[in-house]
Amino acid sequence: MSAISAEPLPRDTEHRSRTDARHDLLFRFLLRFCALLVLAALLGAALATLWGGRDVLFKDGLHFLFSSEWNPVENKFGALAPIAGTLITSLIALVLAVPVSFGIALFLTEIAPRWMRGPVSSAIELLAAIPSIIYGMWGLFVFVPFMANTIEPTLNDTLGNIPVIGALFQGPPLGLGLLTAGIVLAVMILPFISSVMREVFQTVPARLKESSYALGSTTWEVVWDIVLPYTRSAVIGGIFLGLGRALGETMAVTFVLGNSYNLTASLLMPGTSISSSIANEFNEAVDLHRSALIALGFLLFVVTFIVLLVARFMLRQLARREGR
């Protein structure tokens, strides 16, 4: 029995390899189809939003991008306030979330005792599983009063008095506004960035780290000179994953942003964002108003695309500097 199966007939092998090749081809087509499906969906969505927004884009052209007027009664629409709100809240979120995520990831890979790593990283990943509406409600009912009573008066009295950047931190302590939205977003994107960082920090070969320690490096030196350069591109990838999430976040932001189209210099004042404008107004919007909201959706595509492009560019510059 075993002798027969060990030496199959030559004709049989030929047949097998031919079917294998056919299966391989089919499999390749299937994979290509999967990849193209994503591209087609993306392109379709982008074109559909562009088409839906054509009325307002034809009417106002570039003025739509640079006007901060949003007047549904007189059918005048400008996207500046939502674009600014989206970028500012996402930037605040990144500024807060990146250092904290970095700390979390380092602690979990380098410093924490082994028994602690599992529970802490699961807890952080659970943050990612909380629906955004819950973040919104937590933000509105728990965090907003805290901001209004504690953090914002303190900011007014401290940072608000510094000459140039003071204007950013002066304003009525409403609790709602760009800063609050940015902080809530920071909590939301924290798990995404920190889990990517933790994963890639674990890929650094122990040999490299141990050699560095053997040469007398401190933990910080090992992290800054060995771990971070080794994982740089993946870390930046993780940061931009978080940024992508922050740019498109809707419900949580709508609850705490204050939804006002008036542009102000202060981070404590209410603002609006692209996605929250759409969520707020789509229900009752008709004609040009609806078109303006769909055009806003297209702009979110463009903004996200530009951000990703910048990320790619940064990575390439880094690679060039390292002479790779």
Binding site: N71, P72, E74, P172, L174, S260, T272, N280, N283, A285
Partner: protein, 344 residues
Amino acid sequence: MLTSSKLPSRLGAIAFAVAASLIGTTVQATDITGAGSSFVYPVISKWSAAYAEKTGNHINYQSIGSGGGIAQIQAGTVDFGASDMPLKAKDLSKFGLGQFPDVIGGIVPAFNVAGIQPGALVLDGPTLADIYLGKITSWNDPAIAKLNPGTHLPSSKIYVVHRSDGSGTSFNFTDYLSKVSAEWKSKVGEGTAVQWPTGIGGKGNEGVSAYVKQIPNSIGYVEYAYAVQNKLGYAKMKNAAGNVVEPTIASFQAAANTADWKSAKDFNLLMTDAPGADAWPITATSWVIMYKTPKNAANTKVAFDFFKYAYEQGQDAARALYYVPLPTSLVQQIENYWATEYKK
């Protein structure tokens, strides 16, 4: 003779039974669909549950917003649409549609000022407009003080809260401000969403209620039910007749009674700033929109029967949800409108 006469009669009986069961199922299975205003959704769902229990006909109402309701009825995908804004005669005749009011509700200014009890604050239209224009910025402004002699008003800044989503509530509120303030009319105007000169936006009545509750010295506007359920401080208003009135079901009904429905073609009338002595100035309704020549006669018949039921027997259900049933004279006028305008 006997057998031959018995056979056809038995066949007849079977045929009758089959026919009856067929008719029976079609009557039971009449599901009519409506879509539109979220303002009327709570009361329509309550009415439809009671109506289904009584007649077996189900009303499937989707609360997708007035704009959506108008679009759906124009596309003919629903049996009736409901909108917080009346359609103009031109738009009605273009599509062969008719419209009539369904239920009345009140919109109240809600405030949160330490030391002032609910109902202890009096405002009038021009003052409210100036607050929302950002011209009156502190609670002890002379205009507010004049309306509230003897009330201690703090000098703190007024935080204005409005709706961030497009809504019929905003439409009626801004319509009222446009009627009482020329400056509001020229600068802002009326609409389901407008360019608010000042303030922060809350999503939905619940969002505005939450903001007013949380932000000291704030003022907002919400549907009456939300002010009652959230125990918000509501303001009394000085109405068009110059009397100070409380927001109550009686004052909403007074507005509906004194509004000039008789001369409003297709009921195209907003009840804001109604002239009656006891009328609440920011009273609103919403309109049911249906084809004058029905696309589906059986469904349309059920829809009329449903609204007739709602007018005649749904009053307690409406009051329980803090809506106001239409006054009898208006119901009479609507039934005449059905008889003359709609082909059944």
